[in-house]
């Protein structure tokens, strides 16, 4: 097999997983919900818990099943690419993320996997990293879905707090409580922001067509069959918990319906077949949103069926166009003609998938469309809107199917950049299997009903009391008649579709609202904002930074004291002054005078002397209040400081350049404010009771356990020896660094000009 070990491993893994998940089908189709859990981050209440019900199993089978075919296809499509192993790695990472997302029972774990898919999608869209267009599309997809992801996280946290648990199986039981909660509206908005960006609903749709810059297997897998359906999955999953309100109904129905029609009209405009498929994917996502929003049991049933149907035919068509592109070197509808004879197998796959997409019996696409109509007609509110959008979209899908599968293959063979030839078997087999499955399920709808659609519907609807009964044809009813009208309309539009495309092109050229250039403007604005904000905050001037730091400190402490009313005790100054000796007075006055003088003076020598006074005053306080060891250290250090400063002064200039003064009233105001705050905090501390437990412990254990009579020394060298060791290390490092700095000054004669050379 092409692609070496990376190739066959990448095919084997999804194939094995697919087989594994198939094993759950019997239990789940009986209505069982399988829950498995292990603790992951217990302190944050994050559990790696797995819930397998109809909905997650449907997704798991689609992910692994289509994943197998797509990886098989990639071995040939990209197998000779020098970066193929990297591609496989990203693809596998994506698959893990997607499986985790759909199987996870814990909201926070779900979010982690959600982001894994976002990031792997970014890497895969930007796989052709030497193309600027790829990089831009990748970044756009990342930013749009990533922003939605953040909103989703906020929504999940709110929901978790409201429900008291992050386990979906617990949350979904509490739907009535959640819907009545005051935070319900923000939760829904945040969840939908995540789902709509991920599933490219209008107005966040613009990233998906751009994402088609990715290699074709990626488009087929991520941007059609699986990842973009993560948003759909989320809405379906949350439906029992969040759905059923007017807000949910109208938001989903309007956004979904609008996306559906908008995307199917845009699909007709495209000439690149891959872009046609991209827009019909948008249409399908819109329809799924629409029907999950509609929320009746029929609508959910239709949505679940359409989910599977769409994944089958759309993945097949994407892979098919990849084969055509590979074989002919182009994807333009205007160029491709008459490929059927040269590429018979590809044509069969394309035709079968397209018939399903057009909704023609006896394919599963027909049943899907029939159930969409039936559900739409049965709605109590918004029936006309839902049925109307689905009618328009189905007719246009019919046309799109014709454009994709009829025109390129029928007629006379046209010249293409490369001479047309049948694609290799590993590439054709995938689309063929998917397309044939569409026919199989159409002929035997009972199979897919029992395996996937019925259990899925139960999970989304939130109760297993819904009977699901799929059938190809039973009677001539409103839905059937509507189908026939759809075909007629589709045929008429197909006949005129080329002139319609030109007209649409002119119409869109005249439209002033463009999302893609608008995106660029948003990004430019963001950069300008960031630049402006950085210039404001990052002045590069030390004084301003320090001012901000100290002001924040003063406001933070002062504000807290003020709002918490922390100083509501009476200070007994008279008792404080009573019994104060001369030595106490003297020390206090010396220290305060020394501090103020240091701040005030313009003379270096005065400052050094004043600092010395403060230091010795502090040492005296230590002596007076029974801390002889501390006092000795303080005296020693203070002497060293004065000596060091004095030595340094010999080589340093005066404090203020000649003719300038250092008077800064605003700084003084701030300084006083900080000082007042510190005093206030200390006074508040002194008012409280002291906790002497540690001191008591040291006092009674100092001799019996450490054989030392000086408790302070015992603490330093015994109880907190590691701390002291760290202290010594700090001093050594400081000394070494200072030495290195001093050594660096040994180039005499060219000292100040080095700076000028560099600036």
């Amino acid at each position: 097999m092409a692609g070496g070990p990376a190739g066959w491993i990448s095919v084997l893994i999804p194939a094995a997983l697919f087989a594994y998940f198939l094993g759950f089908v019997p239990a789940v189709s009986d209505g069982d919900v399988i829950l498995l859990a292990t603790e992951w981050v217990p302190s944050l209440d994050i559990r790696l818990s797995v819930m397998i019900d109809g909905l997650s199993l449907t997704f798991a089978l689609l992910i692994t099943g289509i994943g197998t075919l797509v990886t098989l296809y990639s071995t040939k499509y990209l197998g000779s690419h020098p970066e193929y192993p990297r591609f496989v790695l990203y693809l596998m990472a994506f698959m893990v993320g997607m499986l985790g997302l759909t199987l996870s029972d814990n909201l926070l774990a779900l979010f982690v996997f959600w982001e894994v898919t976002t990031i792997s999608s970014y890497l895969l869209i930007g796989f052709n990293s030497d193309s600027a267009k790829s990089r831009r599309s990748a970044l756009q997809a990342l930013l749009v879905t990533g922003t939605g992801g953040l909103a989703l996280l906020a929504g999940m946290i709110l929901l978790g707090n409201v429900a008291g648990s992050f386990e979906l199986s617990v949350i979904l039981q509490q739907g009535d409580m959640i819907r009545a909660h005051p935070l319900y509206v923000p939760i829904v908005i945040l969840f939908l922001a995540g789902a709509f960006t991920k599933s490219a609903q209008f107005p966040f749709h613009f990233w998906l067509p751009n994402a088609m810059a990715a290699p074709t297997p990626v488009s087929a897998y991520l941007h059609s069959a699986t990842m973009v359906k993560a948003g759909i999955y989320l809405m379906a999953r949350m439906n029992p918990g969040l759905g059923g309100t007017d807000l949910w109904f109208w938001t989903l129905v309007i956004a979904g319906g609008f996306t559906t029609v908008f995307a199917s009209v845009l699909a007709l405009r495209q000439t690149d077949i891959k872009q046609v498929l991209a827009y019909t994917t948008l249409m399908a996502l819109g329809a799924l949103t629409l029907f999950i929003g509609a929320g009746t049991s029929d609508a959910i049933k239709a949505a679940m069926l359409f989910l599977v149907v769409h994944s089958l035919y759309k993945a097949a068509l994407f892979l098919m166009i990849g084969v055509v592109d590979h074989a002919t070197g182009t994807r333009e509808v205007g160029v491709l003609r008459g490929l059927a004879r040269k590429m018979p197998l590809t044509f069969v796959a394309a035709a079968l998938a397209a018939i399903s997409m057009a909704g023609i019996p006896p394919f599963i696409g027909f049943i899907g469309k029939e159930f969409l109509y039936k559900a739409g007609l049965g709605l109590e509110q918004g029936s006309l809107w839902v049925t109307g959008t689905i009618f328009a979209a189905s007719a246009l899908m019919f046309v799109a199917a014709g454009i994709v599968a009829l025109r390129p293959f029928l007629g006379k063979l046209a010249d293409t950049p490369k001479p047309a030839h049948e694609g290799p078997m590993v590439m054709v087999i995938g689309p063929l299997i998917l397309a044939v499955l569409g026919l199989f399920f159409g002929l035997f709808p009972d199979t897919i009903e029992a395996w996937l659609v019925a259990p899925g519907t139960w999970a989304v609807y939130g109760s297993p009391d819904v009977s699901v009964d799929l059938y190809l044809f039973r009677e001539v009813n409103a839905a059937f008649i509507l189908s026939m009208v759809t075909f007629a309309t589709g045929v008429v539009i197909y006949v005129f579709h080329r002139s319609l495309r030109d007209a649409l092109g002119r119409l869109f050229a005249a439209n002033p609202i463009k999302f893609d250039p608008g995106w660029d403007r948003v990004l430019d604005g963001l950069k300008a904002l960031a630049g402006w904000q950085t210039r404001i905050l990052q002045s590069g001037v030390l004084q301003r930074y320090l001012f901000v730091v100290f002001a924040t400190l003063a406001i933070g402490i002062g504000g807290t004291i003020w709002t918490k009313d922390a100083l509501n005790f009476r200070l007994d100054l008279a008792a404080e002054l009573d019994g104060l000796l001369f030595k106490h007075w003297a020390v206090l006055v010396f220290i305060i005078a020394g501090a103020l003088l240091t701040a005030y003076t313009r003379s270096r020598m005065t400052a050094i002397a004043a600092l010395g006074v403060v230091g010795i005053g502090v040492a005296l306080i230590f002596i007076m209040f029974s801390a002889p060891d501390v006092a000795i250290t303080q005296l020693l250090v203070e002497t060293l400081v004065v000596v060091l400063v004095a030595v340094a002064m010999l080589k340093l200039p005066h404090l203020d350049p000649v003719g300038t003064k250092d008077r800064r009233p605003w700084h003084a105001v701030l300084a006083v404010a900080v000082g007042v705050c510190v005093t206030a905090v200390l006074v508040a501390v002194l008012q409280g009771d002291i906790d002497r437990r540690l001191t008591d412990y040291f006092e009674v254990t100092s001799w019996p356990e450490a054989y030392g009579r000086n408790i302070v020394n015992v603490i330093l060298v015994d109880f907190r020896a590691l701390d002291t060791f760290g202290e010594i290390a700090v001093v050594v490092i400081a000394a070494l660094s200072a030495y290195a700095l001093l050594r660096g000054t040994h180039y005499k004669g060219r000292k100040p000009d080095t700076a000028e050379d560099e600036t």
Partner: protein, 120 residues
Amino acid sequence: MELLIAIMVGVLVAASVYLMLARNVLRFLFGLILISNAANLLIFVSGRLTAEAPPLIPEGADAPLELVANALPQALVLTAIVIGFGLFAFALMLVYRGYQSLGTLMSDEMRLAEPKEDGQ
């Protein structure tokens, strides 16, 4: 006395903040010395003051016989003094070396890493 020392600590902090906000980095250094003194006193005083009773255990006893000064803040302050000195010595050398290379002590003129851009 505790209350008065609290006020004095406030004065020390105010003086050091004023110094640290100065343009001249040498004043910043003076502020650094003052603020470490203020911080040490703050820790010391919050352990409460006890006059003339150092935390020592007399010969023959297993523990102090009467109330002695709180040993814990003393140990912490002792460590803090030494660390503060290390910090100060390093900062002083940095200032010294900065002056050697850049020829200025004004913090807003030390812009080797971030030269002024146009329009600033």
